[in-house]
Symmetry: C2
Subunit: 186 residues, 2 copies
């Protein structure tokens, strides 16, 4: 069974190695990991970004499920590109699994970045925008999508020393996927 490996991992300087490590972990559990092609496209082509999009979409269509790395990326929430893919796979009825290596609640992360105000039970950020405060790790759309289309978000008890290379929570997702797809291998 094929699993699409979504995440901002593609933006890491060692993206190819991380992708290989993730694919190998999948193989150890009897699964085929599909890691996005971003790094294998000729970036000088005028349509490079469209080629990447088409490659990713084809991989998603071919996959039976997704494991999304929802570790916060350039802000308090998950990488929007990854989240697009999670929504896409949920709508297609594929198995949706995800992890974040940051165990804090969303509101805690926003509070750690800026001073929040609290009034009438509502938290607001310095721009006056409400901060979702449901004791969830990220926006409720992703959190409940995982619960309903796969399994609740996997997080560590404590953030690992290397937020972008620690694969313990990823491996938990792989094990969950294998349990659904290839029970004999777990």
């Amino acid at each position: 069974m094929k699993v699409y490996l979504a995440g901002p991992d593609v933006f890491l300087p060692d993206a190819i190695e991380i992708g290989r490590a993730k694919v190998e972990l999948c193989a150890a559990y009897g699964l085929t990991g599909l890691f996005p092609l971003d790094n294998q496209i000729d970036r000088d082509r005028a349509d490079a970004s469209l080629q990447i999009f088409r490659g990713n979409e084809a991989m998603m269509n071919a996959a039976d499920g997704i494991i999304a790395n929802l570790t916060p990326f350039r802000g308090p929430g998950a990488d929007p590109g990854t989240v697009y893919e999670l929504g896409y796979m949920a709508a297609r009825g594929k198995l949706c699994l995800g992890y974040s290596n940051d165990p804090r609640f969303y509101a805690e992360r926003v509070a750690d970045m800026s001073e929040l105000k609290s009034a009438n039970g509502l938290l607001t950020d310095p721009d006056g925008l409400t901060v979702e405060n449901f004791d969830l790790a990220d926006n409720l759309m992703m959190i409940h999508a995982l619960e309903l289309h796969g399994s609740p978000l996997i997080t560590p008890e404590m953030a690992p020393a290397d937020l972008w290379h620690d694969l313990a929570c990823f491996e938990t997702c792989v094990r969950l996927a294998a349990g659904r797809f290839a029970p004999a291998a777990v």
Copy 2:
């Protein structure tokens, strides 16, 4: 025809009024705008966030298209909750339209927030993560999804004075949706 009105607008202090204004604009073009229920749920219920999720999912399933407000939210990119919904609607084959009131390229916004390094044609942020640099307004998954499932992202020539309340780009999307769904009304 029904259009789901996605965006971090639900986090504005005057979310109800903005929702009403968007729905009225849709009506003026012969469309039924569906604005998410976040503000009409009893937030003291233990399952409030799940109720919001289910309400949003039901609205998306009922809608023929989506107009997503992809104006950058708490960081250089779009609100992940909104992007989840865009991915969901794209996968369901619904009409996908979106706008951002910030006309800058993604890489420009990241550069305005932190000092970037450039080497071998690759831009990297202070954490060493690559910055997508395709002269696109946001992550390529959303930008090309709009092109392929609806119409290219709508942006203003210059950012409006009020990033969260200016509805000019939103209205352009409504007009586009009306042109697809109810050509006689345009």
